[in-house]
Symmetry: C2
Subunit: 131 residues, 2 copies
DNA sequence: CTTATATATCGAGATGGTTTGATACGACCG
DNA sequence: CGGTCGTATCAAACCATCTCGATATATAAG
């Protein structure tokens, strides 16, 4: 036996072939394990929901409109030329994701950005888009 | 005729009822128009693609792994315990969106974050998620 | 040249999201 | 009250995306 006879789990076996050395493989496996341990599945899901809310072109347009201040559903649907039901539905998605806040005033529902971070996150997308 | 007899387009008519005054309606319509004019459909689509790339939990996990440095496909699929074809597919989506870069080395493809802005955008999502 | 390994691509099934008109709910006004 | 207006919700058609096994490509090794 030139190398450790101890049984290794399949993923370490893979890395052993990759590294050509069981010892290095274990170190690599431990490193990967410590990285995955840092990742909480619940956090990932919650953060992904934020991105999922912004990833629709219509919803992103709504957020850009709201940079200049509060608007009601009626104004948003007029500005973006979309059906009322669609506008209301997408606003509810943005609200559930915590990106906008609602303020009821008589029969109107007025929406505004929930946090300055929403503006920041849009700026970063502009940078990443290659502009 | 107590008010302007000029024909107004339907969206201004809507706002006229909303504001109860054709003059105010026109001002509001002009404001909305100037807001929508600032929005370029191509930019919106490009930026939405960035968010669409990050909105999948698996892809977000990949990006979090890559914060600590370059990894090959084999290491990522091992760390996250996913099929190879799926891992490769999602990496191609991240690459197309400009979030990661690829470096070929022999038979390996090593991936890394394309820009520090990717880390920043993930930090903002952590803030927004309510944490 | 044959084999093995790492990665990419393909295809079918399953799943989830978007769109739209229709409908329901609530607030205001006569 | 009854009607109108703003908004929310519903349901169904349509479309995009995720998954995962199978296959293809490419590089290295024997």
């Amino acid at each position: 036996m030139t190398e450790s006879p101890e049984p290794l789990d399949p993923s370490v076996e893979r890395l052993a072939r990759l590294k050509g050395d069981r010892c290095k493989a274990r170190i690599a496996a431990d490193r990967l394990k410590s990285l995955t341990d840092q990742i909480d599945e619940g956090e990932i899901a919650a953060e992904a929901e934020v991105f999922r809310a912004i990833c629709d072109p219509f919803r992103l347009s709504i957020l850009k409109l709201l940079r200049d201040g509060e608007l009601c559903v009626c104004e948003i649907m007029t500005a973006l030329d979309r059906p009322q039901s669609s506008t209301s539905h997408h606003l509810s998605i943005l609200k559930r994701a915590g990106l906008v806040k609602e303020r009821k005033e008589g029969k109107w529902s007025r929406y505004r950005l929930a946090d300055g971070a929403v503006i920041e996150i849009m700026k970063l997308a502009e940078i990443l888009r290659g502009g």
